[in-house]
């Protein structure tokens, strides 16, 4: 397909224009590129080969070294990546492939879908205050989403969606599309939250909050941490406070301490007492100890009560829910806590809290709707495809990764971007994202729902002849 010239630029002969294409650049058509001295279809049709799952390394898949044996063995799938699109959905999906799975004659309809309605839900494992619920999330100054309901140990963002892509200004749409594209392709994206933090989000990586890399997820709320470790602290220290933005726990007052017969200490915590030993709002949200604005933990304490058990020499451990922050104090003659070096045995319990914390990660879930027109590439009667998906007769995958489909109307799917082959996502200037999409169903079901039966081809035929938009393949192991 190529003719090498003296220069590193090479000449494409995919069409009569015969562009000279510099390394890493595409031709006039935006479809063919010079990759390492070879002309390739920009986004080659991706073949997920379960045989290379170990390591998941991409290797060239060439007709010449394919022995043909794997077809029908169920370990080879053709995904939508690079298949080309049906936009604006005037013709059968680029590939409609029949393949035998467990004796049944299955059909996989492969396309690259253009999603006008799409966005990402981002889970950020941190207790740090990123911003108030409903606060605006910005990229490059443009509004691209908002902070949504927090989950256990994690902050949640909802980004993108049709209102930001096409409902706002042109710049807002462009920036939103760009941020979504980079998040979905597992790149790092800078986000600024109104009245909150600056966060660097990258799928599969630890979040970076206001320049600090978040290493650990909290083991539980402060109260839960008391419950988990109370018996291990008994006899080593007189009082333990687990500081938490949500519920701060105090072992001497907490039910877990009571059942162990833990004596009162006369400690007094600022904040709203919920039930004994459990306090809300001991401080304001921030990026100090355990998602609060605390740098000095003693600021959450009121003067100690002598008549309730406070005495000189009483020892106090204060620790955050991740074990990241800890301090050891002893009351002086005036019942003022004074910092002391932490005994080794207590240090071990702090380390145990830290050890019980999972690594903090950012999770990016792509959520989108496979709309009316896209379905026309699959069937002449689009609602029947929706019905087949909802009834479980058609399996929905994105780049080979199983997608979770919302119950109810339409085909609203959700998939972890880490499960798709790298670089699966693209965009169109609409702006909208483009991502691979496959429907797999029994051949008889496919024909029954008005499928394009005449367009069905075998996997072998696709590998041999390629699709309308090229015949370059790459093999990758299914992710995850």
């Amino acid at each position: 397909m190529t003719t090498a010239t003296s220069d590193v630029k090479i000449r494409c002969n995919a069409c009569p224009v015969m562009c000279y294409i510099a390394p890493g650049k595409v031709g006039a058509c935006d479809r063919y590129a010079n990759e390492g001295g070879r002309i390739v279809r920009c986004d080659p049709i991706t073949i997920l080969d379960r045989r290379v799952q170990a390591g998941g390394e991409i290797r060239p898949f060439l007709k010449s070294n394919w022995d043909g044996a794997v077809i029908g063995a169920g370990d080879l799938t053709i995904s939508g990546g690079g298949a080309g699109t049906t936009y604006p959905d005037y013709k059968p999906a680029p590939f409609i492939i029949s393949r035998e799975v467990d004796g049944a004659d299955f059909v996989t309809v492969v396309t690259e879908a253009i999603y006008s309605y799409c966005g990402v839900k981002v889970k950020i494992d941190t207790d740090r205050h990123l911003g108030a619920e409903r606060a605006v999330v910005r990229a490059e100054g443009e509004e691209i989403g908002h902070v949504t309901t927090s989950e256990y140990g994690s902050r949640m963002l909802s980004l993108g969606g049709v209102e930001h892509l096409t409902g706002g200004s042109k710049a807002e749409g462009r920036v939103t599309c760009d941020a979504l594209l980079r998040l979905c392709n597992r790149e790092a994206v800078d986000l600024e939250i109104d009245g909150g933090a600056h966060v660097v989000v990258q799928a599969g990586q630890a979040p970076i909050v206001d320049g600090v890399r978040e290493e650990r997820m909290r083991v539980g709320c402060g109260s839960a941490t008391i419950g988990m470790f109370a018996s291990q602290w008994q006899g080593l220290v007189d009082e333990v406070v687990v500081v938490d933005d949500h519920i701060t726990g105090v072992v001497s007052e907490h039910q877990a301490g009571k059942v162990l017969g833990w004596p009162d200490t006369g400690i007094r915590i600022k904040g709203h007492r919920s039930t004994p030993g459990r306090y809300f709002k001991v401080a304001r949200p921030g990026s100090g100890w355990a998602g609060t604005d605390i740098d000095d933990p003693l600021t959450i304490l009121n003067p100690w009560w002598e008549k309730k058990g406070a005495r000189p020499g009483l020892s106090l451990l204060m620790v955050s829910t991740t074990g990241e922050h800890a301090g050891y104090f002893v009351l002086d003659e005036a019942l003022q806590p004074r910092p002391h070096e932490m005994p080794e045995v207590l240090r071990a319990s702090v380390d145990l809290i830290a050890e019980n914390c999972e690594p903090a990660l950012c999770t990016v879930m792509f959520q989108a709707g496979a709309g009316g027109s896209l379905r026309a590439g699959v069937t002449r009667n689009p609602v029947r495809l929706t019905q087949a998906v909802q009834a479980g007769r058609a399996q929905v995958t994105c780049g080979g990764a199983p997608a979770w489909v919302w119950p109810g109307g339409g085909i609203t799917l959700m998939v972890d971007v880490m499960d798709l082959p790298a670089g699966s996502f693209g965009y169109v200037p609409t702006p909208a994202l483009v991502a691979p999409l496959e429907f797999t169903l029994r051949r008889e079901d496919y024909v029954a729902l008005g499928g394009h039966e005449a367009a069905i081809r075998t996997v072998a035929d696709v590998l041999e002849h390629g699709g309308e938009y090229g015949s370059e393949f790459r093999a990758v192991g299914p992710q995850g």
């Binding site: 224009v17 650049k25 031709g27 935006d30 005037y90 200004s169 042109k170």
Partner: protein, 276 residues
């Protein structure tokens, strides 16, 4: 060649993607003529490509190539090559073939956003406009305009300016194509540090723009800078309007807009999106 929903025709070859629509009793015959004319269109251009990529030279032989050369001639002595009109000229050629027969009431050929159209008496045509404009351009049979084209950043072609989109209405698609390219080049802030430029040849070794600097990325701009850039383009577009080269133009950059000439914008979200 393939059929699309709405029974439009899709013609594709190499970098060309055309969407063709027609109405009237002679529709099928017209679309057939369009498909026939498309055969060899790309090869014809390729045969004379060196001439078409040069600002000066002899008159080429091919019909589309001639349309290109004629469309860019009024813009000299500023730098322009016939390639600035390639999409519009191709659309005109296919439209001419389509309409070369009886009973076509309306027809259009959309070549990647550059559209040539035909309107019979009593008919009109609406075109959706790029650039996030909530409305349509309406052209009726009484107007002399038969082409609309859009140029700017984000398109497939390289631009020397920073406009997001410049949409131009003109007598034909080739002239509209060339004018949109030239106006989009003028929407610019020379020497602005936030605008990244590279020689065109670094991106596309074959580019007719050769070593000329083209815009790769536009960083943040203040509203005043946007105004300044758009006004440069507007002044140039008004000069083209006075010379009768264009019927009107719509310039869009970072949420600001300039309208030159009499563009009939209608707030009607119904069909007829020939430039969607």
């Amino acid at each position: 060649m393939a059929w699309m929903s709405g029974e439009r025709l899709h013609l594709g070859h190499g970098p060309i993607d055309m969407i063709v629509g027609a109405e009237g009793p002679g529709r099928m015959a017209g679309l057939h003529r369009a498909a026939q004319a498309f055969e060899g269109l790309l090869q014809g251009l390729v045969d004379e490509l060196p001439r078409l990529r040069a600002p000066l030279g002899p008159m080429p032989r091919g019909a589309v190539a001639r349309r290109m050369v004629l469309a860019v001639a009024p813009f000299e002595p500023q730098f322009i090559t016939p390639m600035a009109a390639v999409a519009g000229a191709g659309a005109e050629e296919i439209l001419q073939a389509l309409c070369d027969g009886p009973a076509i009431t309306r027809a259009y050929v959309n070549n990647g956003g550059d559209v040539a159209f035909h309107i019979e008496a009593g008919q009109d045509m609406r075109a959706a406009v790029a650039g996030g404009v909530a409305g349509f351009l309406r052209v009726s049979h009484d107007h002399p305009w038969r082409g609309v084209a859009t140029s700017g950043q984000g398109g497939r072609s390289l631009s020397m300016g920073i406009a997001e989109s410049v949409t131009v209405l003109s007598r034909g698609a080739a002239l509209a194509d060339a004018a949109a390219t030239m106006i989009a080049n003028q929407v610019d802030l020379p020497d602005h540090p936030g605008i990244a430029r590279v020689p065109a040849s670094e991106i596309a070794p074959d580019s007719d723009l050769e070593q000329r600097m083209v815009v790769r990325h536009v960083g943040p701009l203040t509203p005043n800078e946007v105004t300044q850039a758009l006004d440069r383009g507007k002044d140039y577009a008004q000069a083209l309007l006075r010379r009768g080269l264009i019927g009107g133009a719509l310039l869009v950059l970072r949420g600001q807009m300039r309208i030159v000439g009499e563009l009939l914008l209608v707030k009607d979200h119904e069909k007829e999106a020939v430039n969607a």
